[in-house]
Symmetry: C2
Subunit: 107 residues, 2 copies
DNA sequence: TCATAATATCAATATATCTTGATGTATTAT
DNA sequence: ATAATACATCAAGATATATTGATATTATGA
């Protein structure tokens, strides 16, 4: 029950839905890229990413000071179906601004 | 986006998950049956049932003063997958106490 | 009509979640 | 070592959601 609720509540926020859609569209990104792209405080993004990770949606690859977040793969049926729904929403996403491109970590 | 969030937030509560599991197990029930079975205030159940209905999970059949709530059928893929998850949780549910059996409405 | 029953809604409070700004930690560059 | 960068965490205030108790609405039955 708790695991399911954790998964569901991870979906229960507009910012997190947009983050999922964004990472689905652009692959692995680090927090500073998301910060640039979304124009949100880093602490805010960090918190939401943590919730999405604990909800089973994201993985993190650390490389030095960088933390690259991406969709966990494969997603189980429920999470995968959630992602399908999100894709169908046609959410307007901000343009990608990749800070880490210049001098960032080579995964 | 809003529709999806409404669906997700309908799932984002332990009481509502139990209600879904209970109605899945027992079919159409009226509020007073649920009240007896769950031992919760009627206003509380009524509110949760409304949220589940607005979230696209339940239908209501009115018959006189009775309101029979049951799972909407068919459920779309996401909601259906959510229900599958809930079934797999093996939630402990209260025993069914059917008040409406004696003198209740004949659907 | 009047009383009762089933359900829905509302206002107030309690509880949980989100956002912000500040601080902490670890890593890299000088 | 020192400074700067990337990220995580925390405390406080803001916002949203849940619960309760009271009241409203509608239908049935005497």
């Amino acid at each position: 029950m708790d695991v399911f609720l954790e998964t569901v509540s991870a979906l229960n926020d507009e910012t997190r839905i947009k983050l999922l859609a964004f990472l689905d569209a652009h692959g692995a990104l680090c927090v500073c890229d998301l910060q640039e792209s979304f124009g949100m405080l880093q602490s805010r993004l960090s918190r939401h990413l943590k919730i999405l990770k604990e909800g089973g949606f994201l993985r993190v690859d650390r490389c030095g000071t960088w933390a690259y977040y991406s969709l966990r793969c494969p997603l189980d049926r429920f999470r995968s179906e959630a992602l399908t729904e999100i894709r169908c929403l046609g959410i307007e996403l901000p343009p990608l601004k990749k800070l880490s491109e210049t001098g960032g970590c080579k995964l």
